[in-house]
Symmetry: C2
Subunit: 573 residues, 2 copies
Amino acid sequence: MESDWERIQRRARVRGRMLRAAAGEVPAELVLKNAAYVNVFSNELGHGDIALEAGHIVGIGSYTGRRAYDCAGRIVLPALIDGHIHLESALVTPWEFVRAVLPHGTGAVVADPHEIANVMGTDGIEYLLQATEGLPVDVYFMLPSCVPATAMEASGARLDARAIDPLYRHPRVLGLGEVMDFMGVVRGDLDLLEKLEAAHHRGRPVDGHAPDLPQPALSAYVAAGIGSDHECHDLEDALAKLRLGQTILIREGTAARNLEALLPLLSPPYCDRCLFCTDDKHPNDLLDRGHMDHIVRRAISLGADPILAVKAATYNAARHFSLRGRGAVAPGYRGDLVLIDNFTDFTVEQVWRGGVPVLTPEGVPEGAPPGIDPRLEGGARRTFHVGVLSPADFSGGGWLPVIGMVAGEITTVPMGRSDRIDPARDILKAAVVERHRHTGAIGLGFLKGYGLKEGAVATYVSHDANNIIVVGTSEAEMAAAANRVIALKGGIVVWRGDRAEAEVALPIAGIMSDQALPVVNEQLERAKARAHGLGVRRGIDPFMTLSFMAIPVIPSLRLTTGGVFDVTAQRLL
Amino acid sequence: MESDWERIQRRARVRGRMLRAAAGEVPAELVLKNAAYVNVFSNELGHGDIALEAGHIVGIGSYTGRRAYDCAGRIVLPALIDGHIHLESALVTPWEFVRAVLPHGTGAVVADPHEIANVMGTDGIEYLLQATEGLPVDVYFMLPSCVPATAMEASGARLDARAIDPLYRHPRVLGLGEVMDFMGVVRGDLDLLEKLEAAHHRGRPVDGHAPDLPQPALSAYVAAGIGSDHECHDLEDALAKLRLGQTILIREGTAARNLEALLPLLSPPYCDRCLFCTDDKHPNDLLDRGHMDHIVRRAISLGADPILAVKAATYNAARHFSLRGRGAVAPGYRGDLVLIDNFTDFTVEQVWRGGVPVLTPEGVPEGAPPGIDPRLEGGARRTFHVGVLSPADFSGGGWLPVIGMVAGEITTVPMGRSDRIDPARDILKAAVVERHRHTGAIGLGFLKGYGLKEGAVATYVSHDANNIIVVGTSEAEMAAAANRVIALKGGIVVWRGDRAEAEVALPIAGIMSDQALPVVNEQLERAKARAHGLGVRRGIDPFMTLSFMAIPVIPSLRLTTGGVFDVTAQRLL
């Protein structure tokens, strides 16, 4: 085992080699000739040869190398960085995710394993740490701060401050993930404050999540040491937070897209206080639009300065998370680089990682996923602890509240009460089935605005407790759909009559597939089409929108395992 | 002894108190009412009440407090930060230095104890760490990287990578100080690279010092992971370094003043890549001009945006050195604040430290200096290890090189050779006497441009090896002056005939006085006046300029204990 000092000495020798190449005394391993490159320090396009040695950029100027790549004036960027993502939303393993985003120029992502932690606790975090080890995109982690997201949620795990603390020792764990229980912070909940102080004690960053939190509560939230927010959907909210010192993660993902509204932040004096994130990327969005390249391309198309947009997607993220040696094209930085054709098309032509090109002629990275501890792998396949359901489990309840969906929004409104399913009036039965601990808890309510005319739709609930949510036109079909999800050990099921019309199996922790991304995408798109075929309104994502109905932190009504919850009043109805 | 977790829990409870005040549920300890304040995040002047609790800012808006201070619209700034200073240059103890700068709004300085380390090694660093413990200005340290500064210097200590390494454990040690042996880096000297890698291994910043280093050597220097430079005296050099990723410390001190030349850096897109430092502040400069307030005032008077100038003096420094909770007026930041009247006069009216006002009505901070380990204190008073000198020690040597001083510069030019003193032609004898290790080494040469007509001037040599430098019109007076420095255990002596006409005793490590700053200043000014009285040219600082003559890193000729050294050719003449 190499001691610290032996490692320092070894690195000093490597550095010596780098410096000889930098000084031009020996040819560099690789030189990217005739490059235009984004200089994130002077906010301009620089020009020159980029010399690489021992995995790092060592010089920019006039160089010759043992190998050369002619950039022919095209543009070299630092590899792109996603500042906040829940990998689980891609429904595939990290390996599949990385294979999808690497050709789009992503070099690193900062993941919050909130979903899998809600199912498997620290084992879930450990699972993702192992599943991301040695991948060609660096996956950093922020520890989930709110498992369960609120006291209202029946999650598979409950992680207090001491439970997550040992995980800070992992070299890819950066800090504390989005503190979504903002009211808990403002109230001063002690366990939450201990999580925050533990992060501060270790000098780690803490991510925030506090949409539209007004003053003075916002001051309190920021005074707790929460350094960022990615939930800003309008400029006013973003500026209020920016002025108080928070870094704004401009989110442009699948479920929420705030780039256009926040575009003014990409100009001085705000641009250095912002970076980009996706939060959630679904399979079709990853395949159709790409990843961080899509955000930068879109920002530029909306009028942002290309240099500042690239900087937000690279250096600003690296600086915010103290990712040393990342996010710039400059001597001493890692040779994680992306070549694009031009700022308008923003087509990624090659990606280097540690100075090595990683795309094959087909544009696909090579390699294999890392092995995972059999105990964790086995545990991830055994996360459903719930008995067979019957129609009676979904019946009765008397006059229950009706949750009104709002077109194009994830907020809801109260729409009175109902005592029966009435598809003609778009009154559907909805249930959240506790599935982690055999509690038998099933919360019932009604849903209006979804549009289903026949059958039932059941899905894992990604946000946040990952119980089963099922919506149907009959209790029998609801039970059948939910039972099929359980049989799959997790997944999405569109049910009609006595059979599944479409399904997506998600056997890893009940939230991720073990199939390739294009396969999962095809299954999912077929299921969506079938759900729409059964009446689900166009413009609604049949599964994602459903999953939002169970998050008890978004106003005004949500469905929990205890029944319909009034988020504004903070009580069960 | 409080465990980590007990500390986290205690802090969580304190944080809870802060948040209740932030949320306006209880009155804050202190509210600065009606403040204009510099918002370093949005680069604008904000307005509101600033609420403080438990030593921290907790909210900005509308607040009532148990105590209130009416700012009446005047301007609140974060406490100012000096990004690089050698405290030893003030010739007084840190306590005296702090008493001088605190009324000028300084909240923190980043010190490089290079001088005392050259005398006392790690004991010298430890001495300054102890002498700065608990002071009302936070003194952080960068470990001196080049002791001795070059292989040419006969210093009192030789600190290799392993010798300085344990000091990183001290909570106020931030990183590795200015790597002035830039040629050693470019050459790849292994001990120097080990120092760099050790700092990188610990995630610590490394300061640079590489005036006018051309490409590709500059690329190599930066590729070594050296993140800043404070030696830029023109814009071209600064921009070359900034483009390669270095942070530029704009220096405006006593010996070197680069602010005017570098003023364009205080505008976009460069302003966030810059901060301020003084490098060296001498007693009269501290007393006459102040400290960081002087730099900001001057920057504004030269046309800089006041907000950006304040930001360079606060937030940019805190961010560069990862000084958490410093450098901004925002919730969660420390209550280290400065009240000024306006941006033009920039008069500091009050200073708060941890939310407590620290200036008495007379404007002087109260308190007492920290105690120092008697072993270190005793060691600091016994640093001269050299016998009594005689005129013969300074005689002979034959035809020696003449070092030509350049008016207004610290560079020198070769001016031929001489075999004798000739005050009429301004040819003076100069000597550097090794004083650390009884080696008996005395380097001899001649000096032209100093102007002394009678007597001798002897001084400690602040930069870098702190040997004795003496210049005289006769060998007898040179010996007498040097002997008096030795008797004082360090200091500055102006000698004529058989007596000291003026002297400053510097008994702490031979480089610092134990007297109050105004006393030292008076002694020093009297000595300067006497030196000028004996002929030293106006426009020359008789002692400081002399000390520069012994730094073997500034072109072209320097005097060392081995004789005259050609810096350009890197050889003794």
